[in-house]
C-alpha cells in the first residue's frame, strides 16, 4: 500500500477500501488532541458536547436582537447600555465567555459603526454567537479598516457620503456591538416585534435592520 499527502493535507493511499475511510489531516490532529486531553483528564466529552450544542443551537444573534430592541423602546435602558454595556447586557442574562467587557456603539444619522477583528476573529459570543465565515476571512479583516465604505457597498449597504464610518477593532479584552438606528415606521411595534427586525449584520455594522413592509 502506498500513502501520500495531497495539497489539502489529506492522506491518500491506493488499494481496495476494505477499511474505514481515512479522515483528513486536521481531523486526525483534532482526534489526537482530544485523545491526549481526555486521557490526561483535562477535558471531558460531556462538556465538549454541551459547548457545541450551546453555540450551534442556543446562543446567537437573537440575543443581541433582544438587547437592541429593548434599547429602542426603553430610553433608560439605552442610556445604561451605552454607559456600561456589560452590565446592561447582563440584565437580560447574557454574559460570560467573550462578553466580559462589552462596548456598544450607537449608529446615528451622522455616524455608522462597523466592527471587525484585525488580529483574528474576536467577537461578542454571548450576544452574537460564533462569527460567520466572512468575518473570519482575511478579506474582511484587512479591507474593512482600509476601505470600509467599499466593503459595506459589497454587503449591499450604500451609505450617504456625508455619513462618517467608524471602524472598531475588537480585541481579546473588548468586544463591540453596534446599536443600529430604529427603522422608520416602527413606532407602534412592541419589543418582540422589533427584535425580529434586528439582523446579525446590523449589529456588526455590515447591514441595517429590516424595514417594515
Amino acid at each position: 500500500m502506498s500513502e501520500k499527502k495531497n495539497f489539502s493535507g489529506d492522506y491518500h493511499h491506493q488499494h481496495d477500501h476494505a477499511h474505514s475511510h481515512l479522515p483528513s489531516d486536521p481531523e486526525l490532529r483534532v482526534k489526537a488532541l482530544e485523545t491526549l486531553l481526555l486521557n490526561k483528564g483535562l477535558i471531558d466529552s460531556e462538556t465538549l458536547d454541551e459547548l457545541i450544542d450551546t453555540y450551534e443551537n442556543r446562543i446567537g444573534p437573537k440575543n443581541g436582537a433582544k438587547v437592541v430592541a429593548k434599547a429602542w423602546v426603553d430610553p433608560e435602558y439605552k442610556k445604561r447600555l451605552l454607559n456600561d454595556a456589560t452590565s446592561a447586557i447582563r440584565e437580560l442574562s447574557y454574559q460570560g465567555r467573550q462578553g466580559e467587557n462589552m462596548v456598544v456603539v450607537e449608529n446615528t444619522p451622522e455616524t455608522h459603526n462597523v466592527i471587525v477583528c484585525t488580529l483574528c476573529s474576536c467577537y461578542p459570543w454571548p450576544v452574537l454567537g460564533i462569527p460567520p465565515t466572512w468575518y473570519k476571512s482575511d478579506e474582511y479583516r484587512s479591507r474593512t479598516v482600509r476601505e470600509p465604505r467599499k466593503v459595506l457597498l459589497e454587503f449591499g449597504l450604500s451609505l450617504n457620503p456625508k455619513v462618517q464610518i467608524k471602524v472598531w477593532d475588537s480585541t481579546a479584552e473588548i468586544r463591540y456591538l453596534v446599536l443600529p438606528m430604529r427603522p422608520k415606521g416602527t413606532e407602534n411595534m412592541d419589543e418582540s416585534g422589533l427584535a425580529k427586525l434586528v439582523t446579525r449584520n446590523s449589529m456588526i455594522g455590515t447591514g441595517l435592520p429590516k424595514e417594515i413592509k
Binding site: A18, H19, P26, T35, Y55, W134, D138, E139, T171
Partner: protein, 119 residues
Amino acid sequence: MNSDYKLPFTNKTDDQIVFQNPWHSQLFAITVQMSEKGNFNWKEFVEVFGETLKKQRTYLNNLNGSNDYFSCWLNALEEILIIKKISNRDTLTLLKEDWIEAYLSTPHGKPVNIKNRSV
C-alpha cells in the same frame, strides 16, 4: 444570476451555518474547555492564534475563514499546549499516527478506536 453575484460578501449560502465541519466545532469546544479550566487564558490563546494567522498569510494569499482559518486555530492550540508543556510535538505526531493506523486496520463500518497509549 443575482446582479450582485460578484460582491465578495454576498450570496454566501453557508452564512448561517455555525460550524462548517464537525472538526471545527470539536476544536472550538476543546479550546474553550481547556481555557476555562485554567490551562491558558483566552488572551494568551488569541496572541498565539494571531501570530499563526500572520505566519500563514506569508505564504497563502487569502484565508477564506473556513477550513484554512480553523487549520490555523489547530496550529495555535497545538502550539500553546507545547508552550504550556502540556504536550510535545512527538506525542501529538504519535497519537495522530495511532489514529491513522486505527482507521487503516478497522474494517469499514466498524467503530474506530486507538490502542491505549500512555500520554
